[in-house]
């Protein structure tokens, strides 16, 4: 067994792994803070809250778990460095020959870029920007509330029917919460999120290639390059899926609220035309009952619109549950490499 090793370089990469484990922890906190509702998901939005919270919690848990797992990898690498330094190369080798739950295939060759040997600085910083506040959907909800107020004030003067009593409770809440959460996921999936950590781990592994060559080195490189890097890619795809789902819901909410405003506007036009004609004909009899019927029709239209949106919210809950299951599977994949059941040295 030929072993070429510079334990200092193993420590250098262990430092880098620890730093990036910290970045993962930072992303977990970012996710908890920005990828879900701070509150205000009331009214019809309450139907979307379970999906949004499930997505946020499973993603934050996955990131926190990845933080712990990567720290464990760093600890194991440091233990190997210690073994080599103290002259117990066999023990050091054993750590990475025995630990990985899935070993590298026979004849596996690492694909290293040796242009920056010994450099364990992070080329990228994983600190996504805090999403900017959004107001598009909230503005549409506010417009709908305003229109209902105007119509209801008029209706209250002449009829016994109003819209607000039924519709306003559905409109309650912070309608910008969905798009804000989608922006949070965009931060995690973006260049200052998971891809930065992925690039850092790959860069450092290349830097290590000339400082460590042995069967254990091959296994270690396999663990990072063929398990951790794809796992980080999968995590990025997962958060991208959450972003797409939430963005889609936000857009659907915005469209629905615009449709509600249009339905009320159509009612207003209808009322104005009927009243103008009744002034001309000077026969208002029956008009007020007719207005009551038209208000009911508008209410039915709005109910159908909100029902469609509620169903969309429910469908996304199922998608979030599936994504949560995938996150659990991914955590299991990363669980390989625990030091505890094995006695080293």
């Amino acid at each position: 067994m030929t072993i070429t090793v510079d334990p200092g370089q193993l420590d250098g990469y262990a430092d880098q792994l620890e730093r990036n484990s910290g970045h993962l922890g930072g992303l977990a906190s970012y996710c908890a803070a920005h990828c879900g509702p701070a509150g205000g998901m009331t009214g019809l939005l309450a139907a979307a809250r379970p999906a949004v919270e499930l997505a946020r919690d499973s993603t934050a848990d996955l990131l926190a778990s990845a933080e712990r797992r990567l720290l464990q990898v760093a600890t194991n690498l440091r233990a190997a460095a210690h073994g080599y330094r103290s002259g117990d190369a066999a023990a050091a080798e054993r750590i990475w020959l025995v630990l990985p739950r899935r070993a590298a295939p026979q004849g596996h060759l690492d694909r290293d870029d040796d242009r920056h040997a010994g450099d364990y600085r992070d080329p990228f910083v994983a600190t996504p920007a805090v999403p900017a506040a959004r107001h598009e959907v909230g503005a549409a909800a506010e417009e709908a509330r305003h229109r209902i107020g105007v119509v209801d004030e008029w209706l209250a003067r002449y009829t016994h029917v109003t819209l607000g009593e039924h519709v306003l409770p559905w409109l309650a809440g912070d309608w910008d919460a969905l798009r804000a959460a989608a922006d949070g996921y965009a931060g995690l999936a973006g260049p200052d999120g998971l891809p930065a950590i992925r690039a850092n781990l790959g860069y450092g592994l290349d830097s290590l290639s000339s400082g460590w060559d042995s069967p254990a080195a091959t296994q270690f490189a396999y663990t990072i390059r063929d398990r951790w890097l794809p796992a980080l890619d999968t995590m990025r795809r997962l958060v991208e899926l959450h972003r797409e789902a939430l963005e889609c819901l936000a857009q659907q909410s915005e469209n629905t609220l615009h449709a509600v405003v249009l339905a009320i506007e159509a009612l207003e036009f209808w009322v104005v035309e009927k009243v103008l004609r009744s002034i001309m004909l000077a026969v208002p009899g029956g008009l007020w009952a007719e207005i009551g019927m038209e208000v009911m029709k508008t209410w039915h239209t709005i109910t159908a619109l909100f029902e469609a949106l509620r169903l969309a919210f429910a469908a996304v809950r199922e998608a979030a549950q599936l994504a949560g299951a995938e996150a659990t599977m991914l955590e299991d994949v990363l669980a390989g490499g625990r030091l505890d059941p094995i006695t080293v040295g």
């Binding site: 159509a266 103008l276 002034i279 001309m280 159908a304």
Partner: protein
């Protein structure tokens, strides 16, 4: 199972409905104004039309406004 409308199609339908109704309002305003300027119109209606012609008021404001004017113009308002 109740058929839930596709929001995009409904938005399109509602947009077209609003446009049709806005045009109907414009026609009704035109017809009412013509009538209100004629000798056949009651005095109260002619006075309102004169205020509208002076730009002090619109027919939409008469209908959706505070209500006093509409009550006077529409004897049958409850």
């Amino acid at each position: 199972m109740e058929v839930v409308p596709e929001p995009d199609r409904l938005v399109q339908e509602l947009t077209e409905l609003c446009e049709r109704r806005a045009r109907a309002v414009a026609v009704a305003v035109e017809e009412l104004s013509e009538f209100a300027r004629s000798d056949r119109a009651p005095r109260e209606l002619r006075e309102v039309q004169q205020r509208i012609d002076r730009g002090e008021l619109t027919w939409e404001q008469v209908v959706l406004g505070p209500g006093d004017l509409l009550r006077r113009l529409c004897g049958g308002v409850p």
